[in-house]
Amino acid sequence: MNSLDPRVNRLPQLNEAISTKAPLDQFGTYEVFVQPKEGKPFQHEGIVHAPNLELAWVLAKETFTRRFTCVSLYVVDTRDVYVSPLTEGDKNVYDVLPQVAEQSGSKKNFEIYHLVKRGKQHVHVGTVQAVLPQEAMQLAGKQFNNGKVVFNVWAIATDTIRFTNDEEKELWLTLPEKKFRDASDYKGGDKLKEFLEKR
């Protein structure tokens, strides 16, 4: 190619004709949750495409936490998130959840997320112990349903999550110093003023 972009001029020629992409020429999706500060809850931020949980975590780090502040991050396979129905208006989702009988079997931890305003993010409210995710939601209803309308609940088995380990917390050490990614680093006011005064 004869391009103005020297990088493009270095690209190899494409030998094959354009064909339709093979179905699923893409990776699975993983949901990404970020904790902006110690003491603040984790919040859903979006998804990444990745071949597996470990790479999802590695890729989520720069996709979602290269700005602002971050102290921890975790990811989970989209299919491992158990999702409640979605309500609207003043209908609390906990009032419409189907009743589940108490299960026998070994209990495990579930992370519970609430959507309290449509259009906003799902936010972590706590952890419950249950056998099934349906049961976890029901328990969450008893513990975290404080009368405020909740439109949607997610329950995620804790053992399906790739967490940030303690050693990895240093990954965000220099984040506050990467000012070149922030608007605040581009103050042109003085230069502009000087220029206008000269004209």
């Binding site: 990745a50 470990e54 220099t174």
Partner: protein
């Protein structure tokens, strides 16, 4: 002490700048969007680290970072040849990232105890960035290095090409003894030993084959300004706008 220290700082800064520059060429061309973003962040880290090192050099009497980075010619650069090689396909870029960043992380780890305190501080500050770079590199190596015949073959071929240049990272320094005596740095020889062990331990978790180190002839020259034909065009490109008027503010 000054000459030895400057030599060390220059070669590290030049390595980081040139590889950061090379890696930034992938922006918008990566194999998946998320990897495109991650690779770009690491390129930004590298350029940022080079800036920090050139800034240390400025305090030692060298010119300002922009002048140093954007106006020298190839024979005045002290980077190893590995970092100036063209990106080629993603397999080569990944292998280079793995081999170089493994060395860089170990180098800064050692420098965390340097008697030259400003460098020790920098090393401690950026340890998180380096941890991410090696985690990223190791994760991809382990996965692509054990995936399909194509991915293994590609990485193996790139490994064969890159290894002689990677050994060039540790090109003997005329100041080696001085740096060690003054406890500025533990030296290239010690670094190389650690690096070889680390590279082996990661590659052992893949289906990639590491040739006997004794059979690999290192490619030297970069540290004393003798470069491949690829560096001068890279510098010409990098400074194209800057050189329109080096006295102008851009």
């Amino acid at each position: 002490m000054n000459l030895a220290l400057k030599e060390l700082l220059y070669k590290m800064a030049d390595d980081q700048l040139i590889l950061g520059h090379r890696n930034s060429e992938w922006t918008g061309f990566g194999p998946i969007l998320e990897e495109d973003i991650a690779f770009s962040s690491m390129a930004q880290d590298k350029v940022g680290q080079s800036l920090a090192l050139y800034t240390l050099l400025q305090t030692l009497g060298e010119s300002d970072p922009d002048t140093v980075a954007f106006t020298r010619n190839a024979n005045q650069f002290h980077n190893c040849i590995l970092v100036e090689l063209p990106n080629q396909e993603y397999d080569f870029s990944l292998i280079r990232h793995f081999l170089f960043d493994t060395a860089e992380a170990l180098r800064f780890e050692a420098l965390g105890n340097s008697s030259y305190e400003p460098l020790a501080q920098l090393a401690r500050k950026i340890r998180g960035e380096l941890r991410y770079h090696t985690l990223h590199a190791n994760t991809w190596m382990k996965q692509l290095g054990s995936a399909t015949e194509e991915s293994i073959t590609r990485l193996q071929n790139s490994l064969q090409i890159a290894l002689p240049y990677a050994l060039g990272i540790f090109e003997p320094s005329p100041y080696e003894a001085e740096l060690i005596d003054q406890k500025i740095f533990t030296g290239e020889v010690a670094l190389k030993e650690k690096w070889m062990a680390k590279v082996e331990s990661v590659l052992n978790q893949t289906q990639l084959h590491l040739p006997d180190w004794k059979t690999i002839t290192p490619v030297y020259g970069g540290r004393e300004g003798k470069h491949s034909e690829h560096l001068q065009p890279l510098l010409d490109e990098m400074s194209e706008v800057f050189r329109i008027d080096p006295s102008a503010e851009w």
